[in-house]
């Protein structure tokens, strides 16, 4: 039931609003609202119960193993959430004077320094509000760099065809044409094809490493050389940074600019699809173009003080990406996580996420599932393909995924990357204990048996969720996006 449908005219949560006052007479009547907005009318307890019950209709990390590939669904520390909501942080106005902001600014400055260290970059700006905005800032900086050198012939961004859809969408938002680079059957980029494609028209290459195929790009140094020799810059999509955190730094692989998804690698909550944070890191050449604001530190009369660096400090900046400084509350959570993890903990993230994924991959293989890239190491994730099951049993990767929900596991990423038919991209993360991984494998084996014995049953899954499979075609053909009162009540 919708909150609207339990609404009763005149019912209110009285303690939540100030005493009624009149609208000031100075506001002309023509500018006032004529008809009261159609919002729910309900009581405080009714609201609390409604939304608490809705929350229980969700899978989440806190309730279920959630091995969603490329999304890094690791534990989100409760302590980080509590810290970000401390009154001094939650109540700080974005335009508060610096003298009232030293606590907040010091956290941001130190986070910048930590992120520089773990990525091997020379500068960090925290301001992008999501990975996609980080990508946008990164490619806009590449553009600013070429333009500053009067190099106007560079009109193309190269992108491996296994890439996330955001990469090409971002390149277009920055005014570039996209050229796709093929990926070989072993998951590596086709270096010979890349050599053909790179040239004086190349502004840069956008790449994820480990790639979306769940393998580490072995030719990375050669790829970097080819692109740099052609005069282009290398963009690192940090979607899979968790795989290598503490083991390899994008800066050391030759990347010039990157974004990090703090909601993945630094354990800030995904929140059902946001908010995230997508800070960018840059090498020497792009330092002058970083998006503002950035936090700087100064020694004032022997005392360390922090202040905002703006376009006056960074005159060639690509500018601002939001009204203020980005998703500060998410950044505070990431800072907390980094401090608790510390140096040693940071080195262990890549190691244990990789250990868990390789363990699961081996177990999947032993259970008879087909690996997409047999013979390769898993990174923090790996791919299986269910195309045999689809062909022989008529049970698709989507059917397996839906049935898995009945076993109490969230499905892995399905049908991505697009290159591998009937695929699952599986990412366990380092915060899962091996018993959770074993439970998942047992469920897989059981579903395989069900698919062989009773395919129709699997194809009808799920059975235990609040709803069965939904009619997406009806949803798109007969758009119902907004609740409206029944015609008789109007």
């Amino acid at each position: 039931m919708l909150i609207y449908e339990s609404s009763q005219p005149g019912r209110r949560a009285k303690s939540q609003a100030p005493a009624n006052t009149e609208t000031p007479a100075s506001i002309p009547a023509s500018l006032l609202r004529k008809q009261k907005a159609l919002l729910p009318e309900t009581g405080e307890m009714q609201v609390v119960r409604h939304y608490t019950n809705l929350s229980r209709r969700n899978f989440s990390i806190d309730t279920h193993f959630y091995p969603l590939g490329s999304c890094t669904m690791k534990y989100n520390p409760r302590g980080a959430h509590r810290a970000a909501l401390l009154p001094g942080f939650a109540g700080r106005h974005p335009l508060a004077p610096e003298v009232h902001s030293q606590g907040f600014l010091s956290c941001m400055y130190e986070l910048q320094e930590i992120l520089k260290d773990v990525t091997g970059m020379k500068g960090v700006s925290l301001t992008p509000m999501a990975g996609a905005q980080g990508e946008f800032a990164g490619v806009a900086m590449i553009r600013a760099y070429h333009e500053a050198r009067n190099d106007h012939e560079r009109t193309e961004i190269l992108i491996p065809n296994a890439a996330h859809g955001t990469n090409p969408a971002t390149a277009v938002m920055c005014g570039y044409k996209v050229r796709e680079v093929p990926v070989l059957d072993n998951g590596d980029v086709d270096v010979a094809a890349l050599k053909e494609l790179a040239g004086p028209q190349t502004a840069g290459l956008m790449m994820t490493n480990p790639s979306t195929c769940g393998v580490f790009e072995r030719s990375i140094k050669e790829i970097a050389e080819i692109v740099h020799e052609a005069g282009g810059l290398l963009y690192y999509d940090g979607a899979n940074l968790n795989a290598i955190l503490g083991k390899v730094r994008p800066g050391d692989m030759g990347f010039d600019v990157m974004h990090m998804n703090l909601h993945k690698t630094f354990a800030t909550p995904h929140g059902g699809g946001g908010p995230g944070a997508g800070p960018i890191g840059v090498g020497e050449r792009l330092l002058p173009y970083m998006p503002t604001p950035i936090v700087g530190k100064e020694d004032k009369d022997g005392e360390e003080t922090y202040r905002w660096l703006t376009d006056q400090d960074i005159p060639d900046t690509i500018g601002k990406l939001s009204a203020y400084m980005g998703n500060a509350g998410v950044l505070l959570r990431a800072y907390y996580y980094a401090r608790v993890l510390g140096r040693e903990g940071m080195h262990r993230v890549g190691e244990f996420s990789t250990l868990n994924a390789n363990y699961m991959m081996k177990k999947c293989e032993e259970a008879g599932f087909q690996l997409a890239y047999p013979g390769r190491r898993a990174t923090h994730e790996f791919i299986i393909t269910l195309s045999d099951q689809a062909k022989n049993l008529g049970v698709t990767a989507m059917d397996f995924a839906k049935r898995l929900l009945d076993y109490g596991y969230h499905a892995p990423t399905t049908y991505f990357p697009l290159l591998v038919p009937e695929c699952w991209l599986i990412e366990p993360t380092e915060t899962e204990a091996p018993d959770a991984l074993d439970g998942f494998i047992e469920a897989m084996k059981s579903i395989q048996k069900e698919a062989e014995e009773n395919a129709e049953m699997v194809k009808g899954a799920p059975y235990t969720q609040p709803v069965r499979r939904l009619d997406d075609v009806k949803a798109a053909r007969e758009l119902d996006l907004v609740w409206k009162p029944a015609a008789s009540e109007e």
Partner: protein, 453 residues
């Protein structure tokens, strides 16, 4: 290690299953010469107790201030229930609702949110939210250019009375796509955009006119006349509005003869803490006819195979994961948690409660203005009626005055000179429903003290 549950025995057993001797062996596909050296700038790890103490100390350093700054982010009372519920792990630690059957909670909240936003704005449809108000305006500009079939132009008109922080974010986001933004001057007596400033553009090809209500100075524009002018000149109207104000002010769907075409704004006033500027959320609504040009996630109501009502992502073919380089935007998230908070907030307040917040804020700002202008040399700058923000003029330099107020733990307002040349003595002040008579009095005392020194 923090958050890693493996015992030594676990590790040994797992390595044996995989068939390697050590964890390092799992990295043997990576060229050895790029493997990391020990990190040098990351401090040693600390316990939750130590981290909590560290964060509490830093937060305390920024506390105990009286804030009269608005400028797009407003301090409103947030009911305790809002963040208690949003903080439930089932909302907080879920991902994007791609598996609809396992995400009905998140999906229904979004559908309810879309309904509330559409009704509050008196528009046909809403998306599931964008990053913030500033970037929502940028997306609205891009959308208007796609959606305006009468116009071939990649130009839009934006009055300078529109929030300068939004204008700069918009500029940064759209400029690489060859879009140009032309600024329209405001009337320096009234603080609003007069039709006479637009006459010059009549009959020319622009995709859209942006109208902010209340505008950055808190002043109320003649939205009906501006909307009708834009439509007469084949431009779409992009409304930028404050959601609290919509409880009492004419909503974008009611502007002029035909209403605004796209409506966006900052959602922060609806239950989101100030939190240094984010996470907030940007809302976006539009008319039904241009819904396919809308960026971002959209949820629809449908039925399952037994005919039971359910919710699912819809119109996905517009989005980056399907359309790739031809997507309406590269955005892949909404601001889920902030949007959830706003949905709960709006349910708790309802139309009457929200109107009470709006009225109390407007009334308190009038009280503040009356108090401050009793001080010699302090006066209001613009003559137009206002909602809950006002530009005042102080004797001397606003930047200096604000710095001296800060020494007295008063955040006196937004320094207008940082965004508008020639307005060196101007401060944008705001008092919401959270301010009482004593707060207003202490601001007055502090300002009088600063000015007399």
């Amino acid at each position: 290690m923090p958050y890693i549950p493996h015992t030594d025995a676990d590790i040994q057993a797992m390595l044996e299953t995989i068939g390697v001797d050590s964890i390092d062996d799992l990295f043997d596909e990576i060229p050895a010469d790029i493997l990391s050296q020990p990190l040098s700038q990351v401090p040693e790890g600390i316990s939750e107790m130590e981290a909590s103490r560290l964060m509490a100390d830093r937060a305390a350093a920024d506390s105990n201030v009286a804030c009269f700054i608005g400028a797009g982010a407003y301090e409103h009372h947030i009911p305790a229930a809002v963040w208690e519920i949003v903080g439930r792990g089932e909302f907080m630690t879920a991902y994007t609702p791609y598996q609809a059957e396992a995400s009905q909670g998140t999906l229904q909240v979004i559908y309810e949110y879309q309904s509330m936003m559409a009704h509050l704005n008196a528009m046909d449809v809403s998306n599931a939210s964008l990053y913030d108000g500033g970037s929502a305006l940028a997306e609205a500009v891009l959308m208007a250019i796609r959606a305006n079939r009468k116009s071939k132009s990649k130009k839009v008109l934006i009055p300078t009375s529109v929030n300068p922080l939004y204008r700069s974010a918009t500029h940064g986001i759209v400029e690489n796509q060859g879009i140009s933004i032309e600024e329209v001057a405001f009337c320096s007596d009234m603080g609003t955009t007069p039709l006479s400033a637009l006459e010059h553009y009549a009959g020319q090809d622009y995709a859209a006119l942006v109208i902010q209500q209340p505008n950055f100075f808190g002043c109320l524009e003649d939205v009906h006349a501006l909307t009708d002018w834009a439509h007469a000149n084949k431009m779409l109207v992009i409304a930028v509005v404050n959601p609290t104000s919509l409880a009492i002010l004419a909503p974008p769907g009611d502007w002029g003869e035909a209403g605004a075409d796209i409506s966006v704004g900052e959602g922060q006033p609806l239950g989101i803490p100030l939190s240094s500027g984010g996470p907030y959320f940007g809302f976006m609504c539009c008319k039904q006819g241009i819904v396919r040009q809308m960026p971002g996630r959209i949820i629809g109501r449908t039925v399952d195979l037994e005919g039971k009502e359910g919710f699912t992502l819809t119109l996905q073919a517009r989005e980056q994961h399907i359309r790739r380089s031809k997507a309406t935007s590269n955005i892949c998230t909404n601001q889920g948690l902030a949007m959830t908070a706003a949905t709960i907030y709006t349910s708790l307040l309802g139309a009457d409660g929200l109107a009470a917040v709006a009225n109390a804020s407007a009334t308190n700002t009038q009280t503040l203005v009356a108090a401050l202008t009793e001080i010699d040399g302090v006066e209001t700058v613009f003559a137009a009626p206002y909602f809950h923000e006002v530009v005042i003029r102080v004797p001397g330099n606003a930047t200096d005055v604000l710095a001296k107020l800060a020494e007295r733990r008063v955040q006196g307002g937004f320094d207008v000179s940082t965004a508008y040349a020639g307005m060196d003595d101007a401060i944008l002040v705001c008092a919401t429903e959270t301010k009482n008579a004593a707060d207003i009095q202490s601001y007055k005392v502090a300002l009088a003290d600063v000015l007399s020194a």
